[in-house]
Homo-oligomer: 131 residues x 2
């Protein structure tokens, strides 16, 4: 069976290509997404994909860079640095892979305070735009 | 040489015993601490120990629980859950071990927004009390 160290190549391919079809292929149907801002985890493939896509839209992906990778069994932790508007963001993508080689859990944490505040503002803006 | 998976026992011993002498033994002289709130890393053993001690004072350590451990080579990522006042905190301790088996880098990230906000308030209170 593949493990996190080899499976992570699929995720990097998604990020590099920015291809929603590839993303669709690697997210499990029962995936859970936990945002850096809201405590309650979001359940299901659709909402997980929506949040991952929204993150790509908020972060400056030109400046987005993974700075460290830690893999253990079926868990990957990827540390990143990027910007939102002019605010520096340092964070982690915590990914759990299932036995089918798909992502079953995706949790994001970021620092510092200003970055979390900025993401929260962006989320409120996005919700306002839905009205 | 020991790796993160075995070295982490030293950290757990510090947490369980709440013993500052044991903490002193496992922090490298050139350790760097990165807080969840402030972007700039803090350099040196003294300030790293001060922040780790302060974190223990702010978090409710009775309810503090490590929920996941990820180890790879000389890196440990420990996910935790706890409370500050009545606010739920979910976070990670990201620990880098050096070749002497001491902690050279300690970075903390937490979620959700309310938890980061709470830690920021606590820091401002602590600084006010220094006056």
């Amino acid at each position: 069976m593949e493990n996190a160290k080899t499976l992570i190549k699929k995720w990097h391919k998604v990020i590099e290509s920015n291809n929603l079809e590839l993303l669709n292929e690697i997210i499990a149907d029962n995936a859970i997404f936990s945002s850096p801002v809201v405590f309650k985890p979001m359940e299901g493939k659709e909402i997980t994909m929506m949040y991952l896509h929204a993150a790509g839209e908020s972060f400056n992906m030109e400046k987005f860079e993974y700075t460290k990778e830690i893999h253990d069994d079926m868990n990957s932790v990827l540390e990143f640095e990027t910007f939102i508007d002019e605010i520096s963001v340092n964070g982690v993508d915590m990914i759990e892979w299932n036995e089918d080689g798909k992502i079953s859990n995706f949790k994001v944490m970021i620092r510092p305070y200003k970055a979390v505040q900025k993401v929260q503002e962006k989320m409120i803006e996005a919700l306002d735009n839905l009205d």
